[in-house]
Amino acid sequence: MNQTEAFHRRIDAALHNDQLRRNFRSALTGIMARRAEQFPDDAQLQALRDQARAVRANALVRQPELLERLERQLTANGIQVHWAEGPDEANAIIHEILARADATSVVKGKSMVSEETGLNHYLEQRGIDVIESDLGEYIIQLAEEPPSHIVAPAIHKNRREVAELFHRFHPEIPYTDDIDQLTQTARAILRDRFATADAGISGVNFAVAETGTLCLVENEGNGRLSTTAPRVHIAITGVEKVIEKLSDVPPLLEILTKSATGQPITTYFNMISKPRQPGELDGPEAVHLVLLDNGRSRIRVDAELLDTLRCIRCGACINHCPVYVQLGGHAYGTVYPGPIGIALEPQRIGIDKVGTLTSACTLCGACGEVCPVRIPLPTLINRLRAEAVDGLRAGATVRGHGSLRKPREARLWGLWAALYGDPTRYRLFIWLASRLRWLTPPWLGAWTRYRSAPRPAARTLRELARDEGFRDE
C-alpha cells in the first residue's frame, strides 16, 4: 500500500467514526472560544505576535552560536549536554545515562520529541519501566495509542472511554465516569510512582542560552515532579527550541499559554538551571539535556521553509483546522498532526514518505491567522504541494520532492495552463465547454466518489453578462 492509499484508508476510518468526530468537535469548539477570550484587543494580539515572531526568528538566525552558548552555560551550571542526530542516537544516549545511574524506573513528563524517537518503546524493550505522568499521556499509554494532539494527547477520548480504561487496568478502584473522581484516581495511582522513580524524563518548551535555563510549561505538576523528585533528570528537546535571552521568555510564555489552551498563564512555569547544589535538600543530583536534530537542520537550507522552525508547539493551528476537526490526529499517521504536521513532517521525514499529508488542507488560512509566531502555514503547505509534484520552476529542496508527480495529471495541468494563459484560447475553450456540456464524463476520480459530476452551464458567464448589458472588458 503506498502512502496515499494508506492515508485515505485512515481518513475513511476516521470519517466513519461518529463518536470520534463528536469528541473532537466538542473539545475543539471549547478551546477556540477560550483562546479568543484571551485576545480581546486585536492590536495587542498582533503586537504580541510580532514580538514572539521576532524572538523566534532571531533565535533561528543565530541558532548555531546560541546552541554553543547554551551548551557552555549549561555545562558551567553543571547540566550535561548531549547531541543526537536521530532517534536511535537519542534513545541510546538516554538508555546509557539510565544504565550508568542504575535507574530502572522512569517517570515521564510530556514530550513530543520523545514521541519522535519512540523512546518509551525503546526503553521498555531494554527492561526499563516507563510511566507517563501527564494525565492525557497516561490515558493513551494505557490504551497503547499515540497522542492525537500535541497539547491534549487524549483529546479523542471521552469520559466513558477513559473510565473504562481505568477500570480495566485498576479493577480494584470502583468504576466512575465522573471527571473529578477520575482525576483523583490518576493522582492516587501516579503519586507512588513519583515517590519511587529513579529518573525523570521531560521535554523543554524554551532553552535559554543566556543563562542556561530549561523552561517547562504545565498545569498538572507532573512536570515539576518528574524533574524534581527522582535523583536523575533527563530533558530531551529539538535543536530549534533554543532562544537567546531570558527577557525573550515573557512574550513567548504569554502567547503560548493563551494560544494553546486559552489560559492567561499555566499553573506552573518551571525554570531549571542547575542540578542539586551542595546544601540543597532535594532536586536531582544529575541533570542532562539531549539535543535532537532529526531532520531539523536540513530545513534551514531554504529561507521560506525555515519559518516552519519558529513553531512553539501551542497547537492553535490544529485547533482551528477544519480538516483536523473532522479527522482527528491519528489519521495523519505522523507524530505531529494538523497544519503544523503537514508543514513539518514532509520536510523532516520526506515527501516520498508522507507528502500526501499536504492534500489534507483546504487552504482556508485559519492556521496562519492564529499562529502566535506568524508561520505562514498555508503558504508553506502550498509550497510543499508544489515540491511534491515538482511544480516549482526551480529550487526544490525537500527530500523526496517530485515523488508524487503523476504524468497524466501533469499533462492535464499543462493543458490547462496553455488554455488559461491565452485569452483567445480560453474563450474558445469555455464556449466549447458550454456547448458540448453533454460530453462531461459522469466519473471524475475522487471528486465523484461522494458527489455528482458538475456540468458546465449552457451559456458562459461572459455571454450572460453581455446580455445584461455589461461591456466585455
Partner: protein
C-alpha cells in the same frame, strides 16, 4: 557523540539565514499602582481557585494557628528559615510542625504520605497573571510547594510586580539563575479529559496566598 555535535553545528552554520533585527526587550508597562496590583493579583488567583487573604504583616502566625486546625491540616511542613521558626514557636496541639531539614532521600515516603500542608515564603508576585514567584533553596526546598496537598505561601505585598517582564528586568534575572525558579498560578489542574477543568491532579489541591501588608 561529539561527531554528531559537529555535524549538526556544521549543517546549521552552512546555511545561515538572512539576518533579522535583534528583538526589543518586551516591556508591557501597565502603570498600575499598589492597590491595582493587589486587586489584579487577587482576582486572577481566585479565578483559578487560589485563595488570597490580605492581612497585617505580623498577623499570619495567628491566622495559621487558627485556620490550619480548623481545616483539619495538622501536619505542617516548614523550612529552616524564620517562617519555620515563627510557626514552630507558637504551634500547639493539634498542630505538628515538621521541618524540611534532611535530604529528601531519607524521608521521601513521609513527605509524600504524611504531610497535610506546607508553608513557604514567596520571592515576589505577579499582578497581571496572578502568579507567585518562588526561588526554592536549601532553606525552603523545591518539593515543599509541590508535594503536600495544600500549599500556603506568604507574599509581601511590596513585592508585587505588574508582570513577569517587569520582574525579570528589575531583578536582572539574565545575569544568572538559581537552581530552580518557579511561577505558580493556582492549584494544580488538568483538562485532559473532555477539556473539562479538574483541580488537584498531581501538585497541591489548594493554594493559599497570605498577602502581607
Amino acid at each position: 557523540m561529539s561527531d554528531s555535535r559537529q555535524r549538526i553545528l556544521d549543517r546549521l552554520r552552512a546555511n545561515r539565514p538572512t539576518d533579522v533585527p535583534t528583538p526589543m526587550v518586551y516591556a508591557k508597562a501597565l502603570g498600575w499602582d499598589r492597590e491595582r496590583c493587589i486587586a489584579a493579583f487577587s482576582e486572577r488567583m481566585q479565578a483559578v481557585r487560589g485563595e488570597v487573604h490580605r492581612m497585617q504583616r505580623d498577623a499570619w502566625v495567628g491566622w495559621l494557628s487558627q485556620q490550619l486546625p480548623e481545616r483539619g491540616l495538622h501536619r505542617v511542613l516548614v523550612g529552616n528559615g524564620r517562617i519555620g521558626d515563627a510557626l514552630a514557636a507558637v504551634a500547639a496541639q493539634p498542630l505538628q510542625v515538621r521541618r524540611y531539614d534532611r535530604p529528601i532521600e531519607s524521608w521521601k515516603p513521609e513527605l509524600f504520605g504524611d504531610i497535610d500542608v506546607a508553608v513557604t515564603g514567596a520571592r515576589a508576585g505577579l499582578a497581571e497573571s496572578g502568579s507567585l514567584v518562588l526561588w526554592p533553596d536549601a532553606e525552603e526546598p523545591r518539593l515543599m510547594s509541590l508535594v503536600p496537598p495544600v500549599h500556603v505561601a506568604l507574599l509581601d505585598a511590596d513585592r508585587l510586580y505588574e508582570n513577569f517582564a517587569a520582574l525579570i528586568v528589575a531583578e536582572h534575572w539574565g545575569d544568572g539563575m538559581p537552581t530552580n525558579a518557579l511561577l505558580i498560578s493556582g492549584p494544580s489542574k488538568t483538562a485532559d479529559i473532555e477539556q473539562t477543568l479538574a483541580y488537584g491532579i498531581h501538585g497541591p489541591k489548594e493554594l493559599v496566598t497570605l498577602l502581607l501588608e
